[in-house]
């Protein structure tokens, strides 16, 4: 029956492999769980979960699987006995196929019954289900508190520990910090031979010296440099306020990244119109057309914005609210111009997928490939800019929203 736990974890999206499961069985046979669900929780975690970003998923899976077990003493006793002395065949590579086979029928059925019972009882007010807000995209000001409490406290049960979900903010689909952004951005590289002072080509030197029968001959070649030129366009103000902190982090990471050949940034409000700003408070900036002139297909453009506005701000001339007086060219046309000028352009959206059916967001997804401003989203976006992922805006803006 225990193999159910394996599939249960996989159902929760943890990529537990059979190798890892067998390692756990080995450890159980060796008595490492010490007849204790708490120890088992940690044992299974260190063998089955290999990323702290998956700890939260594991906690959820564990708590839902073992929910209520400790509440009933005799069952937990049986489970503990089983853990103490698991009746498992000696596992070898060949037995892998048999893995599904070992089950302890009686315990299994009682276990299940209990789980069923528990499910009913827990559906309403269970902390697990109640926490429901697994969506990582709270408002900007929302910081899950109490994450670092807990710790090594001895008295807490495994299910309680799992239930407290201390690792929630290690999830990789949560918002990023500067360091994580830098790591994602660091992947944005396109190495090309560059002009400049030549460097010693060690491999060439060795090759050439060997060909000369040991007479050393030094070989020089041009250095390789990153050729990425990046323009970061950020929406500020209005509906972006909750994300200011997040955007600042992206900005500072991009600004600190010294591996770009060129890095420029401009701000806009809701949508790009005829001016792009270098300072949003003092309204200093350049004409968008002037900025565009400096760009070409060797550049990459990254938009950061929630793309959330009245559709007319995109589609109508004169639709702009705020900073630009009257725009004769509709916002969407400006966006299309940029996309035309710089095909290597993408949009990062701090709003979660769930909101991407908003009319204005759909319109913009029609022009640019759009990604969530999360580690996963940023990684995908970087892949598009590196050319390792197709650079396609959404063909049917209404299609497939959410994961």
């Amino acid at each position: 029956m225990f193999v159910d736990f394996f599939y249960h974890l996989r159902d929760f999206g943890l990529k537990v492999s059979s190798t890892e499961w067998l390692a756990l069985m080995q450890a159980l046979c060796a008595g490492h769980a010490r007849a204790n669900l708490n120890t088992f929780y940690h044992l299974a975690r260190c063998l089955l979960v290999k990323r702290e970003s998956d700890y939260d998923t594991y906690d959820r899976a564990f708590a839902s699987y073992f929910a209520g077990i400790e509440a009933t003493a005799d069952v937990s006793q049986e489970l503990l006995e089983w853990l103490q002395n698991p009746k498992l065949p000696n596992i070898s590579e060949e037995d892998r196929q048999k893995m599904r086979a070992f089950d302890l029928d009686e315990l299994a059925s009682r276990f299940r019954e209990l789980l069923e019972e528990q499910k009913e009882r827990h559906d309403g007010g269970n902390r697990w289900i109640g926490t429901g807000g697994t969506s990582p995209f709270g408002h900007g000001g929302e910081h899950p508190t109490g994450v670092r409490v807990g710790g090594a406290g001895g008295g807490r049960s495994a299910v309680q520990v799992a239930g407290s979900r201390r690792f929630r903010n290690l999830r990789s689909d949560r918002i990023l910090d500067t360091r994580q952004i830098s790591i994602a951005l660091r992947r944005l590289k396109r190495l090309d031979k560059d002009q400049g002072p030549e460097e010693l080509d060690l491999d060439g030197t060795i090759d050439q010296s060997a060909r000369n029968g040991g007479e050393i001959e030094l070989v020089f070649g041009p250095p390789r440099r990153n050729r990425i030129k990046l323009l970061l366009l950020m929406d500020v103000g209005g509906s972006m306020d909750p994300y200011t902190h997040l955007c600042e982090r992206l900005f500072s990471a991009a600004h600190a990244a010294n591996h770009f050949k060129k890095f420029e940034y401009r701000f806009f409000h809701n949508c790009v119109y005829k001016r792009l700003y270098t300072d949003m408070h003092q309204l200093k900036g350049d004409l968008t057309s002037e900025v565009l002139k400096k760009l070409d297909h060797t550049w990459s453009v990254v938009f950061v914005g929630d793309a959330w506005m009245a559709p007319t701000e995109l589609t109508h001339s004169g639709g702009a609210i705020g900073f630009d007086d009257y725009n004769s060219v509709a916002g969407l046309d400006w966006l299309r111009r940029i996309r035309q000028r710089v095909p290597n352009s993408i949009w990062l959206n701090p709003e979660s997928h769930g909101h991407w059916n908003e009319p204005s967001i759909r319109l913009i997804r029609h022009v640019f490939p759009m990604f969530e401003l999360t580690i996963d989203g940023l990684t995908e976006a970087v892949d598009v800019l590196r050319g390792t992922r197709p650079n396609r805006p959404s063909a049917h803006p209404a299609r497939r929203v959410g994961k």
């Binding site: 190798t19 120890t39 260190c46 290999k50 990323r51 710790g151 010296s209």
Partner: protein
Amino acid sequence: MSFHLFTGTDTYLVTPELRDAVNVACALEKPLLIRGEPGTGKTVLAEAIAENLDKQLLTWNIKSTTKAQEGLYVYDTVQRLNDARFGDKDIADIRQYIKLGPLGLALRAQERVVLLIDEIDKADLEFPNDLLHELDRMSFAVSETGDHFTAEHRPIVIITSNNEKELPDAFLRRCVFHYIEFPDKKTMADIVRVHHPDVEEELLRQALLRFYWLRDLPEVRKRPSTSELIDWIAAIRRGGISAQAIEKELPFMGVLIKRESDIEAVLANRRFG
């Protein structure tokens, strides 16, 4: 169980979970991958294990240019070339130019050793994959001489990572993994007492209060770590500053906060908070 269990040392406090993870890794003869914020004692763990189990410690510090091969052995061709050119040595036996790296030494050791592969994520993305075979089979071949070595005593392998790079799945599957959480106040107090056994309680309490307050400021980008706290308390004690003073101001802030923008953030918060 036939092996000695790791229990932590006088100077290294270990949580039960981490202790179990170490023992599981030892028992299953799998590498133990340790991740956690800087300053949570990842590297020191290997030293503690070596000390506690009375084993020799071999350290392999990974840099961005480190290649997996270097851990096994380096064939010093330049030395051989040099010797050949100046003809003052017999260069026929190339074994003398095979220099074992830390991993190679660990696999050839006459007894079980502890091998620390420190900051594996510093290296190239493919680096961990290049080690798969050696860590799995605990054997390696020297292609230049045709020698083949298999470890008689599988080393205890501790690998640390700062999570700068994602490690490949195939590699992760072979490891036991533990994430060291940042210590809570109580554990931290214990850690500080290990380093400053005679610290005043009130001073410790105030220092911890300040320290966690700093760490929880959202504006602070580089959050101070354990070792910085220990240095800070050392500075305070040597400066003869009282607990009351810490409550009011932040003496020797430079020990804790290293970035200008962070210092500004802290000052701003003090003014308003």
